[in-house]
């Protein structure tokens, strides 16, 4: 039985002999411009069919909705006013104050000169009062300069499969269709999956899904769907991001990271991605942007750390991410014990029913 929880190298844990460095994304949402090029590049490279009926969802510029069987990158759009910006800054500051691992207020010399120059104007216009006195004391000596307008901001974030160290989908897959690659990622074998759907419930992030024909409702008439569409591949089979496994084996960058015009999506060895993420969050903190925080970089969390690391500017649930995910299989030994006890109880009840029963 593989390790069910805690820090580990997933590829080695899956007993690969030619373990490759673990690959991952670092999605820096602070420089995402919401262009959705990643969504398009992903669809094109992976031949993913259309999702839904091209409707407007009424959620800012997000008309994709959520990750799913045919949507492996999803750009979230969140519009926030002053109150929410201040709240986000406060929750981020609370995280710093907690003394979370590997963090700390940036070292005195770390506050980059760029921070001072690029938005000195904004700093003088808004003043230290905007971020509150707590930030000022904690990050004493660093220039105070939130670059967003204090009135309004637009959060954009490209979500993707997390490729967890302990992947709920992979653990519960009964056919072995889901497997761990030598790069430490999690991939579905389309020709093995029989569409049982257990992985859909197993994922704490709501990523993997069983593919239907892509429409919300069954077609009733010919031509009712908008536009001519090619036939949907892999119907009835679980589908999710493969971290472009087919590109990785040829030493290529995944389609989304390759296309990202602002390098908001970075790709590389997970170790490097985490280091980059930590550098970036320290840089933002030094600029007084205490709302910046990392998601998935901690290998002590409920899924053993994620392959896809994110820099967020608000609480995870604002982006539709779970605030404290835990891989369900971590509790499996306990569940088996309880189930064994219950089964023994049932057998005992049946035995008692016969012993001494009236003829």
């Amino acid at each position: 039985m593989p390790q069910l929880a805690g820090p580990t190298d997933p590829a080695a844990d899956a007993r690969w002999t030619n373990v490759q460095p673990r690959k991952g994304f670092f999605t820096d949402t602070s420089i995402c411009i919401g262009c959705k090029a990643c969504e398009v590049a992903c669809k094109e490279w992976n031949h993913n069919p259309r999702n839904g009926d091209l409707e407007l969802l009424g959620s800012s510029y997000d008309n994709t909705g959520a990750l799913g069987a045919s949507t492996w990158r999803h750009v979230a759009f969140i519009e926030q006013g002053r109150e929410q910006i201040e709240e986000a800054r406060a929750t981020g500051r609370a995280l710093v104050d907690l003394g979370m691992p590997g963090l700390g207020p940036p070292a005195a010399g770390a506050s980059p000169a760029a921070a001072g120059s690029s938005s000195a104007a904004a700093s003088s216009a808004i003043g230290p009062a905007a971020a509150g006195p707590a930030a000022e004391t904690m990050l004493s000596g660093t220039p105070e300069m939130p670059p967003d307008t204090p009135e309004f901001r637009w959060l954009m974030s490209s979500d993707v499969c997390k490729h967890c160290t302990h992947a709920g989908c992979l653990d519960v897959c009964p056919t072995g269709a889901l497997f761990r690659t030598e790069f430490g990622t999690v991939v579905v074998q389309d020709d093995v999956c029989n569409g049982c759907g257990t992985c859909v419930a197993g994922c704490p992030f709501g990523v993997i899904e069983r593919r239907t024909d892509g429409t919300a409702a069954p077609k009733t008439k010919r031509g009712e769907r908008k536009g001519e569409q090619p036939e949907v591949p892999n119907l009835g089979v679980a589908q999710k991001c493969t971290l472009c496994y087919d590109r990785l084996v040829d030493d290529q960058t995944p389609a989304c990271a390759k296309t990202c015009p602002t390098e908001s999506i970075k790709f590389g060895d997970r170790e490097d991605m985490v280091a980059l993420a930590k550098e970036r969050v320290a840089e933002l903190h030094a600029q007084g942007r205490t709302e910046a925080r990392l998601y998935g970089a901690n290998e002590l969390d409920g899924v053993g750390g994620t392959g896809s690391v994110f820099l967020l500017l608000d609480e995870p649930e604002v982006y539709g991410l779970p605030p404290d995910p835990r891989v369900p299989t971590a509790d499996l030994p306990r569940m088996f014990k309880r189930a064994g006890l219950a089964a023994a109880g049932m057998a005992a009840a049946a035995a008692i029913s016969f012993i001494g029963a009236r003829r």
């Binding site: 519960v172 056919t175 569409g195 049982c196 089964a343 049932m346 009840a349 029913s353």
Partner: protein, 363 residues
């Protein structure tokens, strides 16, 4: 935030829903406000979600899976009862339980295959033995159980038809192995009844995951009372004394385990067991289980009463399974049931001084 000439065209913003954009805050709905039920202690909490969209995905399982949960339980319990009857010399009870076990496990397997996204690949379930996958272990339990149940039931059919099955020399083999086969099925019966509880609990679906300590007990109790109820329907009262006792044990177990499950579950998540259609099904199930139990206790030795009580018990078990499945799917579709308990447990750990295991870090 913006001023344009079209602002006058905007509809007035609703009071209390003034905030725009992705942050949607919902106050917990008052529970028990109708005064009809006990109001659980729901902590006051606000939560934010992404346009009210679910965080986890609801499993794509339909009524077939609920039916399978029920039928698997009936099959497992029937095999156990059949083995008891076999060992204590109750031929009619033994025959009926063996037939019930094979019938229900067969129907259940058909339901299971039908619910697959690619039914033609159902044999891939036996491609690997995977200890971390309750579905994989369950498939093997189902297969091994079915083997024993089939042999035992075919032997009964052969006897019922006056040895007219074209078995030839195999008949002697069948007679020799039917006893051990019945016992083998009985050994795997409780496992067949219980593994589905682990299958549900080992997911990120809030209601099932939060019930992981109690759901196995709910499921084996439900399986016991259903199989005993079925035996009370099919078999004359002279031979069903053990079934009646098992039914009573099942009813008591079911009521107790369900109560404990509700009380120990996160109070917000427990709402899903009370509200909506799943809540109605579970309340009805409880009422039927009580009615069936009382009927068994008071009139179990009169055939019509026993049959009616048995029917109530069978229905109670089916409703439990449909209710639990529905409650889980409901809990996955509302982000509140994912976000609120997670935020609470994270805050509790932080308050206890554990600050190193959060997925969100400041660096």
């Amino acid at each position: 935030m913006t001023a344009s000439e079209y602002d006058s065209e905007r509809p007035p913003e609703l009071p209390g829903r003034g905030r725009r954009g992705g942050r949607r805050r919902d106050r917990p709905r008052p529970v028990g406000a109708d005064g009809g039920r006990e109001a659980p202690m729901v902590p006051e909490a606000e939560f934010t979600s992404y346009y009210g969209r679910p965080v986890v995905k609801a499993v794509p399982w339909g009524a077939e899976i609920a039916a399978y949960l029920f039928l698997g339980g009936v099959a497992g319990g029937s095999a156990a009862l059949g083995a008891g009857a076999q060992l204590t010399g109750r031929p009619t009870l033994c025959r009926n339980c063996r037939l019930a076990a094979l019938t229900s496990v067969s129907l259940g397997a058909v339901a299971l295959v039908h619910d697959l996204g690619r039914p033609e690949r159902f044999l891939n379930m036996l491609r690997v033995i995977k200890l971390t996958s309750p579905m994989s272990l369950g498939s093997w339990i189902l297969s091994v159980f079915s083997a024993g149940a089939s042999v035992a039931a075919v032997a009964e059919v052969d006897r019922m038809t006056g040895e007219r099955l074209p078995l030839g020399p195999l008949r002697r083999v069948l007679r020799a192995v039917e006893g051990p086969a019945g016992l083998e099925a009985a050994a795997f019966g409780p496992l067949l009844a219980v593994y589905t509880a682990v299958l549900l609990a080992d997911t990120a679906t809030p209601t099932w995951n939060h019930a992981h300590d109690e759901l196995p007990f709910v499921f084996v109790s439900s399986a016991s009372l259903a199989s005993a109820g079925l035996a009370m329907i099919t078999t004359p009262v002279a031979e069903t004394a053990p079934a009646r006792r098992l039914a009573l044990l099942g009813v008591v177990g079911d009521l107790v385990a369900t109560q404990v499950m509700r009380r120990r579950m996160d109070p917000v998540v427990a709402e899903t067991l009370h509200e909506g259609r799943p809540g109605t099904l579970l309340r009805l199930s409880e009422a039927l289980a009580v009615a069936g139990g009382i009927g068994t206790l008071l009139g179990g030795r009169r055939r019509p009463v026993a049959a009616a009580a048995g029917l109530a018990l069978v229905a109670a078990s089916a409703l439990t399974r449909f209710g639990v499945l529905g409650a889980g799917i409901r809990s996955a579709k509302d982000p509140r049931y994912t976000i609120e308990p997670q935020k609470r447990r994270l805050a509790a750990r932080r308050a206890a001084g554990i600050t190193d295991d959060s997925i969100t870090t400041s660096g």
